[in-house]
């Protein structure tokens, strides 16, 4: 799978019409036999460039599972997924790895910063996977500066507040300029103020031309979304 040419961060009206991620009939079942639980039961979803889509639902309703399937972190039992114009269901792990590296940025509820790396090193981690080009490093530092994270860049994660850690995680998700940003309960572990800052960053990422899919049960988070989808009984409803 050959990735399309890299885009600049600047928003483009044309790009806003492009479907970045589209999934049809997604099914995912955990367990087997009598313990089997069908958490996704024919989910259809799409997100366009410049759009922030919020997926809400009760705990354990399958929101995170949906995000993991869209981000090629796990495989669906049934259904199709297309990211940046390329079908990813059934592709070998090597292709999925390249897709995650080039096209997708993740933000997790628990930040998942590597404890041994400083804030800046965590942000630059995806650029290192691509060969650590000087311009990528420059872009990362510019992002840190733009997100107001200069004070956190030289510190280790355990020295930072939850808000700082999550902002660094958002910076890491954006540093390689992905077409799709997937955020799993990004405000779940933050206070209201820090949560608002993170949501503003995600909104801005969408405004810059990316597709952002946000899984949350935070009312404030849904307020920033362009569309809100409800995951109920394994299906998405508007």
């Amino acid at each position: 799978m050959r990735p399309p040419p890299a885009r600049c961060l600047t928003a483009s009206p044309t790009l806003h019409r492009v479907i970045v991620v589209a999934a049809r009939g997604l099914v995912k079942t955990y367990g087997s036999g009598r313990a089997a639980r069908r958490v996704l039961d024919g989910v259809d979803i799409e997100a366009r460039a410049g759009e922030l889509v919020a997926v809400v639902g009760r705990s354990a309703s399958g929101k995170s599972t949906l995000l993991q399937l869209l981000g090629a972190l796990d495989r669906a039992d049934e259904g199709t997924i297309e990211v940046a114009g390329t079908r990813i269901d059934g592709r070998p792990e090597r292709d999925l790895t390249r897709l995650r590296r080039d096209r997708i940025g993740f933000v997790f509820q628990f930040f998942h910063l590597l404890p041994e790396l400083t804030g800046e090193e965590n942000v630059l981690l995806p650029t290192r996977l691509r060969g650590s080009a000087p311009e990528a490093r420059e872009r990362g530092r510019a992002l840190i500066d733009r997100l107001g994270l200069n004070g956190a860049s030289a510190r280790l994660p355990h020295e930072l507040s939850g808000g700082e850690q999550q902002r660094l995680a958002v910076a890491r998700a954006l540093v390689h300029d992905p077409a799709l940003v997937l955020a799993d309960e990004p405000t779940g572990n933050l206070d209201a103020e820090a949560g608002a800052a993170v949501l503003a960053l995600l909104r801005r990422a969408a405004d810059d031309g990316r597709a952002v899919v946000l899984v949350t049960h935070d009312e404030a988070a849904t307020a920033t979304a362009d569309r809100i989808l409800h995951l109920v009984d394994g299906r998405l409803r508007p």
Binding site: L73, D74, T97, R98, R100, H112, P115, S132, A154, L156
Partner: protein, 756 residues
């Protein structure tokens, strides 16, 4: 499940090594006594030039402390042959009535029936002979094999140079119609602890008998034990290393398991479980899992070496322990299970000692933050916060892996220790294997500097020196004697006119080189056996009945004859034993044609013999020993690999979310492998340097001491070996990283992310 398999493999490996070590070590440690008991080995064997049986019996009968006696005639240099092999250096023992001093292991003894022979087991094995087969025995012609015998007074053929057979003296006397003389007396002491009384009297009353030499049962045992001791010590040390490695890695595994279960342990403690009960649960679980692995390993190890061990014992004319081995194997099994239980219980015991509130909060994988005071002190030094906490490593995913491995300092240190000890054993084994090969092939390895020897009178040395291609030549006298004060202790006197170091140059251990006819340098083996040193007097009883005395001026690390050798000048030797005849030893010029010199020596009427290593005739045996040592090195390298896989497996398990995060951000298998290789190299490279240092400064000298104080056998690590240690462990790191990576990337990244 995977962890359980790895732990099972570790215990199995360690137990197999312990089983192998116990089997060989117990067999060697008890083999002589068992064989001596079975063969009814006499306490003293006296060899002498042929005498009438009545004369010898008159002397022996008068000795004190004699319980029983019997006599033999030994014919040497007899041509022996069969379809399976032949030798012109055969030894035929003509045995008479009374006790024999050998055990019949197949068939029956010779009993006066005509044309029968008993063959030593070593000969039977080497020449593929069985009871009922026929052999050619010198002028006696074709004889039928009545039985196979073992006599532990010497090692077996072909380790001993002469094949040995026994024929009936009764039959020969009947055939020849004359009495057969005797040349050996076998004496069983009434009180074996007071053999010295018997020996003293025997020496005093046998002055008219020519060529008397005494061999005691304890003397034979000392010689065999000095060879077996090194093997036993190495095997025991080796199995301890393996067991230590397995225990350390098991403890590390349990520690990781305990760390994961801290919350559950906290709940147990909160509801009233005692520390001992929780630790006991871990121990019991480890025993249940470890007992089958240990039992299987001990059995497999024992069975694997049973064949080679039996061959080794047979080569030494000793007996395998049979069912007597069961007890030490069971003890070894119990010890292994105890070590496994302790390795599992200790981390749990330590963890349960923490405050219960802390346990309930669970574990932090990262290092704890510094105290406020420490942070302030570091800030006062002007260090940036992150720089204070970061390990001094550069960028790159391998460096990240190193940070992951070194974050657990205790475990990293334990892994380094395990790898260093195992690596040093690998270096030691390879060094010993090289040494053994050198002993087999290279005369210089034992200090011999001459290339050829020729049987010529001493006054022909000048003629030999004049030959083209000859750098130097001198007569070399060798006389086998016995210490005058301890007749059971053999002494080999080697005499050169002038400076012997031109031809034989064993390293000086203490004192100085000899400078006069009255002085001697003695091997450290002899010094240890006789309890003498520099400044002592060496008095040697010579075969001709004379005695030569020397002042010891130096001790040397000589390997020949287990170091029971003394270098002297010929004058006093020849005065005491005028019959001693020399060989001419020849040092060739650099690049000289050995074959051409050999031909020129032929024109002088001498047949030249090429000089080999210490024990040229045992080349096959030494080759086997070198192969065995290399095999042990390979097995120990597997221990290193196991330790690395185990350590990396723990890193991968504990850092599953980290690896999953990397994969989620697009890290491919190669990147994950680089992280894990970095983690492996972070412990392997320091371990390699430590292994080199440990071998060079501790194990090597220790083994040299254990091996034989009499010889300079301590292998010395070279830079090449250091490179081997570093390169080998680096290669193993890559293999271990590849192995663990394969497993780590087999699951979808989300599985690791869910764990956080």
């Amino acid at each position: 499940m995977r962890r359980a398999r790895l732990a099972f493999a570790g215990v199995l490996l360690a137990a197999a090594m312990a089983g192998a070590a116990v089997t060989v070590a117990y067999g060697l440690a008890t083999g002589f006594d068992r064989a001596a008991r079975q063969a009814d080995l006499p306490d003293v064997i006296v060899r002498f030039r042929p005498e009438s049986r009545e004369e010898i019996d008159r002397i022996v009968h008068a000795l004190p402390n004699v319980a029983d006696r019997s006599y033999r005639f030994e014919a040497t240099g007899v041509g022996l042959g069969s379809d399976g092999g032949s030798s012109d250096k055969g030894s035929v023992e003509i045995v008479d009535g009374g006790r024999r001093g050998y055990a019949i292991v197949d068939g029956r003894d010779v009993d006066g029936r005509p044309n029968e022979v008993v063959v030593e087991r070593g000969v039977a094995n080497e020449w593929h002979l069985h009871v009922g087969d026929e052999v050619q025995v010198g002028r006696l012609g074709t004889l039928r094999i009545a039985g196979i015998a073992v006599a532990p007074d010497n090692v077996a053929f072909p380790l001993a140079s002469a094949p040995r057979m026994y024929v009936s003296g009764t039959w020969l006397a009947r055939e020849s119609e004359r009495q057969i003389p005797v040349s050996q007396a076998l004496i069983w002491a009434a009180n074996p602890a007071r053999v010295d009384v018997l020996l003293q009297q025997a020496r005093a009353t046998s002055t008219q008998i020519q060529g008397v030499r005494f061999i005691t049962r304890s003397g034979v045992r000392v010689l065999i034990d000095s060879a077996a001791g090194i093997v036993i010590a190495l095997l025991v040390a080796f199995s301890l290393v393996a067991l230590g490695a397995a225990a350390t890695m098991l403890a590390a595994t349990t520690a990781a398991d305990v760390q994961r279960r801290l919350t559950a342990i906290g709940v147990q403690r909160a509801v009233g479980f005692s520390r001992a009960r929780i630790a006991g649960e871990y121990a019991w679980r480890a025993v249940r899992a470890g007992l089958p692995a240990a039992a299987l390993g001990v059995a497999a190890g024992s069975l694997a070496v049973r064949g080679p061990s039996g061959d080794l014992l047979e080569a030494l004319n000793e007996e395998a322990p049979g069912w007597a081995l069961a007890a030490p194997l069971v003890i070894a099994l119990a010890a292994i299970v105890a070590v496994v239980a302790a390795a599992a219980a200790w981390p749990a015991w330590r963890a349960t000692g923490r405050p219960i509130v802390g346990l309930l909060r669970g574990a932090e994988v990262t290092r704890p933050a510094r105290t406020r005071g420490a942070r302030e002190a570091a800030a006062a030094r002007g260090e940036p916060a992150a720089a204070r906490r970061r390990l001094p490593l550069g960028g790159g995913f391998a460096a990240l892996g190193a940070r992951l491995a070194l974050a657990r300092r205790g475990r990293a240190a334990a892994t380094v220790v395990v790898l260093a000890v195992s690596g040093s054993v690998v270096l030691l084994m390879l060094g010993l294997a090289s040494l053994v090969a050198a002993l087999r092939d290279d005369p210089a390895s034992v200090g011999k500097r001459y290339d050829l020897s020729a049987r010529l009178p001493a006054d022909r040395a000048a003629d030999v020196r004049a030959l083209p291609g000859v750098a130097d030549a001198a007569p070399r006298y060798v006389v086998q004697g016995a210490d005058s004060f301890a007749l059971g202790e053999p002494v080999k006197l080697v005499a050169f006119p002038g400076d012997h170091t031109r031809f034989e140059d064993p390293p000086i251990d203490a004192g100085r080189r000899l400078r006069s006819d009255r002085e001697a340098e003695i091997g450290v083996g002899l010094a240890q056996a006789l309890g003498i040193g520099v400044g002592s007097t060496l008095a040697v009883q010579l075969p001709g009945g004379g005695e030569a005395r020397f002042v010891v001026v130096g001790t040397v690390r000589a390997l020949d004859d287990n170091g029971r050798v003394a270098y002297v000048r010929p004058r006093r030797l020849l005065a005491a034993d005028p019959d001693a005849s020399p060989q001419i030893v020849i040092r060739l010029e650099h690049g000289a044609d050995r074959a051409a010199v050999t031909r020129r020596l032929g024109t002088l009427g001498a047949q030249a013999t090429a000089v080999g290593g210490a024990t040229t005739r045992n080349g096959a045996f030494l080759g086997t020993l070198a192969a065995l040592l290399r095999a042990v090195a390979i097995v120990n390298a597997l221990v290193c690999l196991y330790a690395l896989v185990q350590a990396l497996g723990l890193v991968a398990r504990e850092r599953r979310p980290t690896l999953a995060l990397l994969r989620a951000t697009g890290a491919d298998s190669a990147t994950v492998a680089a992280v894990l290789a970095g983690a492996a190299l972070a412990v392997a490279l320091p371990a390699a340097l430590a292994a080199f240092a440990l071998e060079r400064f501790a194990l090597g000298p220790l083994v040299a001491h254990l091996a034989a104080g009499y010889a300079d056998v301590g292998p010395r690590s070279s830079l090449g070996q250091a490179a081997l240690a570093v390169g080998g462990l680096a290669a193993l790191s890559v293999v271990a990283a590849a192995w663990v990576t394969r497993r780590a990337v087999a699951e979808p990244p989300v599985a690791g992310l869910r764990e956080e």
